[in-house]
Amino acid sequence: MSPEQAARRETVTGEPRRVRPLPRHRAQSEIDEQTALGGAYVRSLMRGQLRAALTGFAVLALTVATLPLAFRALDDDAVTWWVLGFAVYAPLGLIACWYVRTAERNEGDFARLVADRPTESRPTGPYPARVDPPEGRPTERRPAP
């Protein structure tokens, strides 16, 4: 933080945040600026999330793929009625709750990882340095030139 900025802070209250962002963390900046390291951070998060999603999906798919065959083998309509009409819904909910917990934990771990590596402030231009189009009203969303 430079001296004159500190001095200005004494005289002007409520300095607009967008003029100079708060001190950043190094990992956060890496992510924002699309560096190789930032890319690696995001990839690791994606891998974790994808693993959670695929695990949930595998459990669902294995169960569901075998059920019609099981019904055919059992040839008992009462079982079909009870399983499809009633019993399947609780496992669906359990998979959903497990996934949300896992996904949020992954995101929490990631946030901590990013926050753990503070760095000096970077008085660079306005955030974000990313390429995504500005988010305005949906009708006006067109990619930035």
């Binding site: 708060l22 999603a53 819904y89 669906l92």
Partner: protein, 559 residues
Amino acid sequence: MSQTYAVVAVTAVVLATVLVGGFGLRISRTTSDFYVASRTVGPGLNAAAISGEYLSAASFLGIAGLVLVQGPDMLWYPVGYTAGYLVLLLFVAAPLRRSGAYTLPDFAEGRLESRAVRRLVSVFVVGAGWLYLVPQLQGAGLTLKILTGAPGWLGPVLVAAVVVLAVAAGGMRSITFVQAFQYWLKLTALLIPVFFLVLAWQGDGAPRPVYDEPAALRHQQTVRFADTLTLRLTGPLPVRADGTVDGRRHNGEALTLPPGAHRVEAGTRLALAEATRVPGSAARTEHPLYATYGLIVATFLGTMGLPHVVVRFYTSPGGREARRATVVVLALIGAFYLLPPVYGALGRLYAPELALTGDADAAVLLLPERLVGGTGGDLLGALVAGGAFAAFLSTASGLTMAVAGVLTQDVLPSRGVRHFRLATPLAICVPLIGALLVSGVPVADAVGMAFAVSASSFCPLLVLGIWWRGLTPPGAAAGLLLGGGSALLAVAATVLGVAPPGLLHALLAWPAVWSVPVGFLAMIGVSLATPGRIPAGTNAAMTRFHLPEALAREGGARR
């Protein structure tokens, strides 16, 4: 059945929809309000709205009707509708919200930076939306016809008119309230009668031949055929016929119809004696296992791409909230889907003759009168009718909203709220004409076709777009055209009846089993062949999709 109660109930639902929509209109002030309810809808309200929008005529009437006709295998429909949300939660919910895309075309353009892919997706969104709207309108026509004897065109026209009023007036904010309200209305309308129906069933000695195949009649029934139609019997059916069957005139004499196709002229009455076993329709019994898997793939993977579902995620404040809202949605629709099987089972006991007329979708509406009877039965019937109308209105308005949004952005020349209001009548006009011209496809089957198209086109686009950096615009276009296009053609061939019977018919009627892999393989294969076309912003898009808002927001870029 007393028509008065039903008319009052339907009128009340229609009025309530317009009034709640009008309430939304007063607080819907900005464009952002109008389109996405300013992205401030919390998980609870949003989940109720999503569920209200999602539980369509197919859920409210169609499942019970199909179970009545074809037995418990059809319970895969509600399971698929629910599990579709689970798959959506696993792969799509949070990243889709974080993508900032308001519609699927927005997502495609934002991710692939290609106007051509955007236009292609728009075509599919409008196609799937229209395909899904037709059965909603037909269900409305059937309901009004059964309840009040109104002509078949009145229901579709009424629903279309109310939807245009509610959507064009209030936009997304009013629709959010309308749909949250309609979820609870639909749940109540099925839940309260279930208690009385089960009590009546117990009072009847709790008969349990529900599991019998085929279903047997509990009481003597007379089936009147209002339209000429072809019966396809899987077993012999003893009847007393009064009218023209297979071109021969009968005057109340007993005969047994052998298995096979029979043409029954309009105005014919078939009297069925007590304990008659009513054989099922032969429509899907040829390759039942294949059909079951086709249904599973279509519903599990198709939900994520339904145009009215995607829009809803954008109204969540963030990815985390979108995920949590999805879990609540799972609970809400799971709770609702416990009810239609009860109606289906009781329908097999008390109204199996509906399977003959092709009006099996009316089972839910007729059961209260048949089991409870009297004024109580009429009142419960009116409640169910109101709920059914809530189902048509909510799904139809959500779909119309989504289709009109795409039409405004990608088809009509200038954009803005005023043009959105112009696009709304256009969005519902085409399916309205379709509903008036095409008939005879069961509501749940027609919806299943929309799911198959969505599963073969949007599912690969969303899943690969969110999780794979290698996706290119030519790859996406190839997958959409080959997967979605082939599913669309197969469905069209089935509806038009050009598919020859046998295995080919099953393959065309349930395309998802082969068209989803085709879509994925085409997308992956062509993308791998065009590595130079990977969009420059791919890494930025991936970061945006998967980074929690708390981190992205520190930069002040996203709200």
